[in-house]
């Protein structure tokens, strides 16, 4: 059972990661047209096309809070980011400190590298008790 992307005459075989089902897709690129087969839902077609032309991923990470009781804030991107931007996003995020209070959904980095995707907080953190 192969799970790696492989290329054959039929096209590229890949696994859709949009949901835990993991449909096995066959994706063909002819000129500028992409055809996707094997998907059980429309998201598979979107994934197959993007993966062929411009692969994207949702990124999750943590950033420093400066608070010893809750030292890290979990964060996530609001959409799937182009793969080539991921390392730079992470390196940027790891240089930040976001002090509490923080609310779930609060924007940490807006419009990452012009993609229109934000990095937001995954949880509330209350203000430290003093």
């Amino acid at each position: 059972m192969s799970t790696k992307n492989t290329t054959s005459e039929q096209g590229v075989e890949m696994v859709c990661i949009s949901c835990p089902i993991g449909c096995r897709l066959t994706v063909r690129l002819e000129g500028e047209t992409v055809t996707v087969a094997g998907n059980k839902c429309p998201r598979g077609e979107v994934y197959g096309t993007e993966e062929m032309l411009s692969p994207r991923r949702v990124v999750t990470a943590t950033v420093a809070t400066g608070s010893p009781s809750i030292p890290r804030l979990p964060v996530r991107t609001t959409g799937a980011l182009p793969k080539e931007n991921i390392d730079e996003l992470l390196n940027r995020a790891y240089r930040l400190t976001v002090a509490p209070p923080v609310t779930k959904g609060q924007v940490i980095i807006r419009d990452i590298m012009g993609t229109g995707i934000d990095l937001v907080s995954s949880r509330d953190i209350a203000a430290p008790e003093d």
């Binding site: 835990p20 993991g22 890290r72 979990p74 995954s122």
Partner: protein, 420 residues
Amino acid sequence: MTERIVDAVVVGGGSAGLAAAAEIARRGYQVAVVERELSLGGILNQCIHNGFGLHYFKEELTGPEYAQRFIELTREEDGIEFHLDTAVLEAEENADHKIVYAISKHHGVTKFICNAIVLAMGCRERNRGNIGIPGTRPSGIFTAGLAQRLVNIDGYIPGREVVIVGSGDIGLIMARRMSWIGAKVHAVVEIQPYPSGLTRNIAQCLNDFDIPLYLSHVVSEIHGKDRVEAVSITPIEDHHPDPAKTFRIPCDTLLLSVGLVPDNEVANKLGVEINPETNGAYVDARLMTNRPGVFVCGNVLHVHDLVDFVTEESTRCGGFVSDYLAGGGRDEAQYRVSPGANVKYVLPNFYAPGRENIFYLRPMIVKNRAELLVTLDGEQIMKKRFPHVQPSEMMSFRLGPANLRGVRPELANVVEVSVG
């Protein structure tokens, strides 16, 4: 010593405990949730990746986001009290009540007196000692969950050159996490000929980073005096390791993702009977153990793949607990459920023909276009098609009064579940 009299005590404030407690409170009972960490959410707090809630919320949430939804839900209910940073030390029963002793820094010992206990403590990880990897005993060997905690909660990097044992989801998720914090993952080593985790995780956690997956291989020796220096990896051929083909990978960190085991410390104190197939309790159609009034749900009952199923199971459990507290359900007729061909286990171990029953099971085979077959005393009563089955993906099905019309009180009424 403080005494608290409540209707039910829920041990564990993770996804299972929160769902069960919310339901019990919704039904009008007083419930105490006892949680040993400083915050609710359980293991979800350190699962900062997304992929949670696809079934339940039709959204892909991160672990903390999923946890927060349920924490907010419980806040809406009166009748739930939370005891955080509080650990259960002892549990016992007398003729009238159940007693749970829990300790905390600020309140000393709290003696909970209740009529029902819900065990929702989750799992612990199997470790090097359980699987017996030979070699030296250097530092740098972590179970994947511990490493995940150190990274996501405390912000530490366990090591820079990593090898991961086990292709279960925790190991795969950590392969990506370590890559995303600047470490290099050199290999994932899996003893079985197929991966244990979800296929999407192989794609987005290994393939994305070009991390080789060595199927049918084992880590045959750990090297290094003070800190891990390398591991020896040996392929399995014809069910036996082939030492001649052993190769070495230099590394400074070994992450073990080799299985979860229900954390039964408290269950053992109550004399709950444990099923060696699941390492969790035997439960009847109401998710109740052999000890009346002691219920189990979530990972401590059986290791789940999806938190959505944990929520479903635990909410249902909360309902059964409420029925029990109301005095109902005790005379309900129940009959055995048995694992048949290619099924490792089915839960619960009993069903009630008079109502809807939801079952969870694990197959022992990998197959496309598979069939789930359910029989009642040998007669087929249900068939369900599955496009793909594998041991690492839990399956579910329902039986209701319509399927169970053939049940007669004078017969054995054994339901058997097979996959083929």
